[in-house]
């Protein structure tokens, strides 16, 4: 029998928000507690085609399955009508090594685990009464971060800041079609929101730390390589709580690393996201909190495994 392959439609139907949030929350806690195996990724470059390929793997210790995720980015594709990103997730039994299934997800699972991880830590660290969200960036994650946070708490307004006014307007339209109040905002306005999520590929900070209000929470999800940087070091300097999804990764190529190298934060001043998701947090109404997410391979494994459990019970 051939290995079963599930496409995006089947995966989307199986991956209900509650399933995704539970899988990502449990995997984040396991990662914080050292109960995950995440080997160094495999990487290839295709300079003539402006392309690359990353292979990442992850396992929650003791789980029945592990996952190997193949992801490509070929950045000239849009010119020939193809998406830049492609790939799939291979779910493999951790007991017998048999390939259980392939999830031909077109990057959906990575997008959802990123959105769920951002929404979970934003919800956990923001003031209980905070209802105003600002997103920096106008791409898929800007949309998903708002939509998934709205699964966790009511949002009265979503401020959208993007460099291109037409894209910001389009995202506001999309958010309104999903029942969220949304409007474009300047960087200064957006930086003044109760909750802020940055979702850009920026290489220098997208907001001014001085514009962030006391009591605000900021989550950065866009910084996943050493040359990227969304959040200013001064923001980490003002923060009472700094959450990182992986201490080593965030030091190496996250916004936290920029802050530490700038002398604005101590290298051991962070707390694992998973611990903050596990324990309800005592935060003052005036504290600023920051979360730096760089992406954890074990979350992919947990989510792929949970989705497959729905598809192949």
């Amino acid at each position: 029998m051939n290995v079963p392959v599930f496409g995006p439609a089947a995966i989307e139907e199986a991956a209900a928000p509650r399933l995704v949030l539970d899988a990502v929350r449990d995997a984040s806690i396991a990662h914080a507690e050292g109960r995950t195996t995440v080997p160094p990724p495999l990487h290839m470059e295709f300079p003539d085609a402006d392309g690359d390929c990353h292979v990442k793997a992850g396992w929650i210790s003791g789980a029945a399955d592990f996952a190997v995720k193949i992801a490509t980015g070929f950045y000239a594709n849009p010119a020939i009508g193809l998406p830049s990103n492609h790939g799939l997730v291979c779910v493999i039994s951790a007991r017998t090594g048999q390939v259980r299934a392939l999830l031909d997800d077109r990057g959906l699972l990575t997008a959802w685990r990123t959105a769920a991880a951002g929404a979970l830590i934003t919800h956990a660290l923001a003031r209980p009464g905070a209802t105003e969200l600002a997103v920096f960036g106008t791409g898929q994650q800007a949309l998903l971060q708002a939509v998934w946070l709205a699964e966790l708490r009511p949002l009265t307004a979503v401020l959208v800041h993007g460099r291109h006014p037409d894209r910001a307007a389009a995202l506001c339209g999309e958010l309104r079609s999903r029942g969220l109040e949304a409007r474009p905002a300047t960087a200064r306005e957006a930086a003044g929101a109760d909750m802020i999520v940055t979702t850009t590929p920026a290489t220098s900070p997208v907001l001014d730390a001085a514009h962030v209000r006391e009591g605000a929470h900021v989550t950065g999800i866009g910084t996943d390589m050493p040359h990227k940087n969304e959040l200013p070091p001064e923001l980490f300097g003002r923060a009472r709580i700094i959450a990182t999804d992986d201490h080593t990764q965030c030091l190496d190529h996250g916004d936290f690393g920029h802050a530490v190298r700038a002398g604005a934060a101590a290298h051991d001043s962070d707390t694992p996201v998973g611990l903050l998701l596990k324990q309800p947090l005592d935060r003052s109404a005036t504290a600023i909190t920051v979360a730096d997410l760089t992406g954890v391979g074990a979350l992919d494994a947990a989510l792929a495994s949970a989705v497959l459990h729905r598809l192949l019970p």
Copy 2:
């Protein structure tokens, strides 16, 4: 549209011996000439299940496709009626990053490229008139090395040496059913053949260098980890030509590395297999020649791509 998956039957039908030999030969030459990309593999361990997972990737520079191979080995599987090895090969466009197909080959392609690589270098280095082959080991590769070499030159006899007489007898039966003269042999008899291929997981040499005759050729394909060792250092000391499929790998975890560390061979005394396949070789009738094969990821890519070209022309 979902990614197409091809199973073992379709792959076996597409992979005619000539196609496999041509793909492996061309890829070996490309590798020798530095025209391949082979990133460090990804590796995971599952100690409770006595299992591991390796992910290897390879690309022949300029080729339309590259390949990512996922291979698992779970060594307690036979007790529950499952094969120890599983995995698949993902063929991806090197121009757009789109996944073109999955080859659910159950390890067939790796077995064939190993067999083809062994047969090609054995044929290239052995004396033109040599027709007697000895194989050490009684597993799948012992069978395949003989069968594939018989595609390249006539064999008048195959001597089989194994630790278990019943397995050696069974392999002889299988070889005879494929039209080859075969009989069990002692290690000393086998070491005296014109052509010798070792295919074992041995951790100490399987033959005595003093028993190898002048004019013989020896290929070792079993040594793929630092603790393994099939060919004695003294054999390399007697060899006029030493061929390696990858200089760095063979130094690190091949029989060649054992010989260099023992002082029996200079660390730069080897010649790339690909160059010896490209250029007809001037060898004296009394020279001993040795080839050390550790397995090259670029060969997987080339073979998977050639097979897929037949399946999806």
